[in-house]
Chain length 188, copies 2
């Protein structure tokens, strides 16, 4: 028996990514975003949605670029901090001790300590309501050597990204492997 819960943004899993940008003076900023996801394979694109009220919103509009930085479990406090305060009044990098690195490819900084980062140029801006969706074409993905597997691909169990639960607003880790896509279903 299913219970109706109403019209709510309630679905799992959601990500918790730090969206990196520069403000008008070139000060790096980051904000934690959970409204987002991959949205196109060719060109490779990722979407993040921001409220107009955020400081990052103006940065993305002006710079036409952002980075997606995937914090690891050990960085949950810093990641949450990036969602707690505004870059308008705070230098979040200074406050957390994280390092903003200028991208060679797009006009945005990435977070050096995040094990996986995506450099994105904005190719679409969609007004959806309270949130504006920025679609970024992924120009490059960069990963720490320490999180790569033998084949040179990032291993999610080394990256250890945050899994955000919109309902109770709790961060979780990644659990055990349940099998390969396009494979386990053959046994259905």
């Amino acid at each position: 028996m299913k219970r109706s819960l109403g019209a709510k943004t309630l679905v799992y899993p959601a990500p918790a990514w730090i969206v990196g940008s520069y403000d008008a003076r070139g000060k790096p900023n980051g904000m934690t975003a959970a409204w987002g996801g991959l949205c196109c394979s060719d060109p490779p694109c990722v979407a993040v949605s921001l409220r107009k009220a955020t400081y990052s919103y103006g940065n993305l509009v002006a710079r036409k670029a952002f980075t997606v930085n995937v914090p690891s479990q050990s960085q949950v406090r810093q990641a949450d901090y990036f969602g707690l305060v505004s870059g308008r009044t705070t230098d979040k990098f200074a406050a957390t001790g994280l390092t903003a690195v200028r991208s060679d490819l797009v006009d945005a900084p990435y977070v050096q300590q995040c094990p996986l980062v995506l450099e994105c140029k904005i190719v679409h801006v969609f007004e959806l309501g309270l949130h504006t969706q920025f679609v970024g074409q992924i120009v490059d993905v960069k990963a720490d050597e320490s999180v790569l597997d033998a084949a040179g691909k990032p291993d999610i169990l080394k990256v250890l990204p945050l899994v955000f639960s919109p309902g109770n607003q709790v961060y979780y880790g990644v659990g055990v492997s349940l099998g390969h896509a396009f494979a386990v279903g053959k046994e259905v």
Copy 2:
């Protein structure tokens, strides 16, 4: 030291949702999608991206509605099956033993056995390249009584959604709690 991995759709976590729809004859279909995410709080919206080649694509365009069905860990085989074969030639519900339930709110079926389902009417269709992004306004969220917590909210550790890893294409479970958002960052 970060290694450049190129322009790839490589970020964590991604979801694994069954997108429910009706075809022209009213046959229910579902397809597993990992390119998607929440995208607006007001109105509450979720986005899913489909390739034009999929059978579901035409269904969504014609019916202007879809459901997002969150499979549980125990349904990983069925969920994968919904991404392996085409609804053009297969009745995936019959093949998996899952049940399509007609929504009272939108012109799409949901999956009875999935613990959490979202009923969505399409409010935007964005052409991004290989994928088309459908933005669905969430009209209702329905959850099994068995996955609700004491406050009547879905508990992610009872829903046990799949966490998809685009790199190695493996499904994972949800891991341990790492703390509350808008809270743990205060200790940074």
